[in-house]
Symmetry: C2
Subunit: 364 residues, 2 copies
């Protein structure tokens, strides 16, 4: 058989398929060729119903509709884009260490390879599966393929449970923390520095805002049995008019990472209260997601995969599923700590292990 | 007699001469026409020796050289440039209030008018006089005419005492405070804000620098009988990398205004000590000047003019005379608080009063 350019062989082992996926460049906004290759591969599989939305692909088993009594549905989702290359393209295979290096290996084409292998192999899984391959996760939220699906075609994502195959070191990471940024302003009164007592120095006033930040103790609540760890940090400060002027304004921007037992509204109210009486402007925010690992399909999944689940501290797209009322976890073979670095890699063993664990859960 | 364009009549009353000077535009860097007019007027006066340096003019009596026994020499100095116009050119005369409005009225063509009137009238003063009319005071120090003279022809400025006719509300202002700017850096360690405890927030660290500023008590030393009032202010703060990154650097720029009992070196050492162990980079500095009003010609001048001298808190060109070892004061008819504002004005009475006081001191 003559392979068309970029045709994917879903029967290749996970690590080899990962290499194939890495070697089709797909920096955010340029996912077309990879989306085409994935679409062609999926459409060859008669047990899947495939739809395309931009460069986002959705492939569904519909066993529940055939009267075979499947009721539960799970989403397996992964993004197909990468950050820009950093002299780490195409991939390199180290046979001694059984390690694949290159952009997107961990984040997250290893996870996408697992999705594709399962999509091809599991013609009759024990629950319906919706495979989602989406674009533009590494750039601003408005372009994110999962966000667009959740707004434009939320039914496509309907499920009892979702697994995001983001790099998690092969451990189940539950939920995620929310995040908000706020600008807090200290005001003063201008004056010439030669007679500074005629004014009021807004930068000095801002010291009281830093006092609050320095004294702040992070909450570490248990949510559904997982321990989260909040953070509150100044991420920017600016003030000053000229070298001889007492400044009348100083703005401190803070980033609050909040545990998922607190809603977005509660988090905003907390920050406004904490910094009262300073004017607080909420710049942006995104809710967290509870892990939901104590009951239902998520609990069964965690039990099947084994190991000790841990709380996801960063914000991830699992929050989008939470917004749709769907419990979701991160579970993937990559390593998040080396994502976006020039030395990004993924080892072969965890790719095979993740595929094995998911196959067991979806067939036993 | 037919007047050539821009010929100045030094026999006009002070307020009228001020108006003539204002109406020859002389924004910094464009003093040529006004310098020409002043040069022509001075060269008509046979008792003065006139030299020109760029757009700076120096006119000297040389009574000491004629064997008439004059030993003391005084400098009367003023800058002829103005800040840019702000819809306040040419001048406007309000006969009811006896008030002249317009750019440079207070700062400091009223003072220049007094200088010119004295230069014309005092053919045989009781001490030798050096009149200096200089360019580019309102812009960066490197272009300042008095600075250039002090570097290129310091002998031109040799004297026992100097009076700068900057606006001082008709009060003798002694000396000036020094000024320095320094950048103080707080360092930390970058981390993702989702795991902020892996890093160290430099903006939070900078709170300790603000603590020092907030706790700082200004010195108010008496120097030669005048009370100075120091100031130490943050004039800029900057820090921050991205909305999700714990920043590793925060820089606070401070401006220290120091009394003239402290040298430039002492002031720098004081700031380094105060903010230890933070790295302190001195960005620029200029020494202050002691008032020197307790003895010698400065004391006699203060006594002759009357009133209660006060300390000059802002930095002025008197510091240049101090660097040459010449005691100097500010004394002029303008009002410094309205300098550089669109509503700048000067009243007629203080112009006449300053001329009268200086005439009395230089002839009695």
């Amino acid at each position: 058989m003559v392979l068309v350019d970029h045709d994917l062989d879903l029967h290749a082992e996970g690590p080899a398929l990962t290499a194939d996926l890495v070697d089709i460049a797909s920096v955010s906004g340029q996912e077309g060729p990879l989306a085409d290759a994935i679409e062609r591969a999926l459409r060859r599989l008669p047990h899947l119903q495939v739809t395309r939305h931009g460069n986002t692909l959705v492939a569904r088993t519909e066993l529940g509709n055939t009267g075979r009594g499947k009721k539960e549905r799970v989403v397996l989702a992964g993004h197909i884009d990468t950050v820009p290359h950093a002299a780490n393209f195409p991939s390199q295979w180290d046979p001694e260490r059984q390690r694949l290096s290159g952009v997107g290996t961990s984040d997250m084409k290893a996870g996408v390879a697992v999705q594709l292998r399962l999509a091809a192999a599991l013609t009759e899984p024990n629950r319906d599966v919706t495979y989602v391959f989406y674009e533009c996760e590494e750039v601003d939220a408005a372009r994110n393929g999962l966000f667009l699906l959740s707004r434009n075609a939320p039914k496509t994502l309907q499920a009892d449970f979702a697994i995001l195959l983001e790099p998690s070191g092969g451990v189940v990471e539950g939920g995620c923390q929310g995040t908000l940024r706020a600008a807090i302003t200290a005001r003063g009164a201008r004056a010439h520095t030669a007679r500074s007592w005629m004014g009021k120095n807004a930068i000095h006033e801002a010291g009281a805002i830093l006092d609050i930040l320095r004294a702040w103790e992070p909450r570490r609540p248990l949510v559904d049995g997982l321990e989260y760890h909040e953070g509150l940090n100044a991420v920017a400060v600016s003030g000053g008019i000229a070298g001889n002027v007492v400044p009348d304004e100083c703005v401190i921007t803070v980033n609050y990472r909040f545990a998922p037992d607190r809603s977005e509204d509660e988090a905003q109210a907390y920050i406004r209260d904490l910094f009262a009486p300073y004017p607080v402007e909420i710049l942006d925010s995104a809710p967290g997601a509870k892990p939901g690992l104590t009951t239902g399909p998520a609990a069964e999944f965690a039990k099947a995969v084994g190991g000790t689940p841990r709380a996801k501290l960063g914000w991830t797209d699992v929050a989008r599923f939470a917004e749709l009322g769907i419990p979701a976890v991160n579970y993937g073979p990559g390593i998040s700590e080396i994502a976006h670095t020039p030395d990004e890699y993924v080892d072969a063993a965890p790719i095979v292990a993740a595929e094995h664990a998911l196959t067991t859960w979806l067939t036993s």
